[in-house]
Assembly symmetry: C2
Homo-oligomer: 228 residues x 2
């Protein structure tokens, strides 16, 4: 957590000891968070819309229908904020005031641009697919030209980003430590339940390992080759 | 889902069949979602910040430190967007294009105002506490005057809100239905793991039932008396 904030507006102001600005920390949050919330402004009104994202090297990708207002607004180069948050647990203190949450969030500011290069677009869409279920892209029918035309891919450089993290037990006031109440952390985790096969899937079709053992705690390793 | 959108700007444009505008649907999402993402604008730049919320009747409450930039910006009556999203599962289709997610999201637009009436502020803060762990407020030390002075509570009327929901299996193209690949839904759920007691909690202290059996799928029943 030694890195400095890239800009004044990404500096974590409230509880600055929770701020982090190194890319390793930021990337890990973006990679693990299943979805993000995208903020943009139309006629002075902010809108916050949940969507899927993916990171590939120094870029964050967002995708959606070419008919989507969010995507169309962002494609104009409007200022955007992308925030990804992972809730890790409830922090149950001995006083109401010191209750908190353990979490990791990453905030990315900037402007997005549409990806038009066909090869980069395919790689970006594959990153989004991998972000959800690694390897699924190679197991199912890949997009045809018509589907690609209906899908917009936007790209945001990770130049202005910050992370905020809270971990650990409650921080109670000394005078509350004698309280007889239970205090501690209730860890929370986004957990898969039993996969539900679609109608028409033959009963002997095995659930693939990337679904059977699904967990969202991994990045896009293929970014490591730096070929993005 | 028969209600009409309250305003043009809350109308769900993309896939309108997923839109819902009745308060019962919207309230259920706000009540179940553990956190929300708050969007506001400073110098033309949108910011999206995760925080805890609570609904009490027709109002949404947000709280935070009086030193928080988010809270201070909102308290000026700046336009705000509060979005709460629950991820219910991954929708794994037979083609990349038809992959999706099952989710429920609620979007609330408006302006927030600070709650200054001491009794309303206490009720709002208790709602926030109940939103996280029902009944915890009565089990721990309640806020003293100094703590209340350090805590801002904002209130947003639920007059301009919409929900967007996707449920059910993948919707594949007919020509993909013969694909041998497994398709279906992987349900996801925010699940509590084992509670971790804080240092200093006597080993024989029982974990209270609201923590031991914690689940975030319930609203603020005390809103039903309409006394907010």
């Amino acid at each position: 957590m030694a890195a400095d904030p890239p800009t004044v507006r990404t500096r974590v102001r409230r509880l600055p000891e929770r701020g982090a600005y190194d890319r390793e920390t930021i990337d890990a949050i973006l990679d693990e968070a299943l979805i993000c919330h995208v903020g943009f402004v139309v006629d002075g009104q902010p809108y916050v819309i949940p969507t899927i994202h993916a990171r590939l090297g120094d870029r964050l990708y967002l995708h959606g229908s070419t008919a989507s207002r969010t995507l169309r607004t962002l494609a104009t180069g409007a200022p955007v904020c992308v925030t990804a948050t992972i809730v890790d647990g409830l922090v149950l203190a001995r006083s109401v005031f010191h209750h908190s949450m353990n979490y990791r969030s990453a905030v990315v500011l900037g402007t997005a641009r549409p990806v038009t290069d066909p090869e980069q677009k395919l790689r970006g869409l594959q990153a989004v697919s991998d972000h959800i279920v690694r390897g699924r892209w190679d197991e199912v029918r890949q997009p045809n030209r018509q589907e690609l035309n209906q899908t917009a891919l936007l790209c945001l450089e990770l130049t202005e980003a910050s992370a905020k993290i809270r971990t650990g037990p409650p921080k109670d006031d000394p005078e509350d430590l004698d309280s007889p109440v239970w205090a501690g952390v209730l860890p929370l985790h986004l957990t898969p339940l039993s996969p539900a096969p679609d109608e028409g899937v033959p009963p002997d079709t095995p659930v693939p390992p990337n679904v059977r053992h699904w967990r969202k705690a991994i990045g896009n390793e293929r970014t490591l080759d730096g070929t993005d």
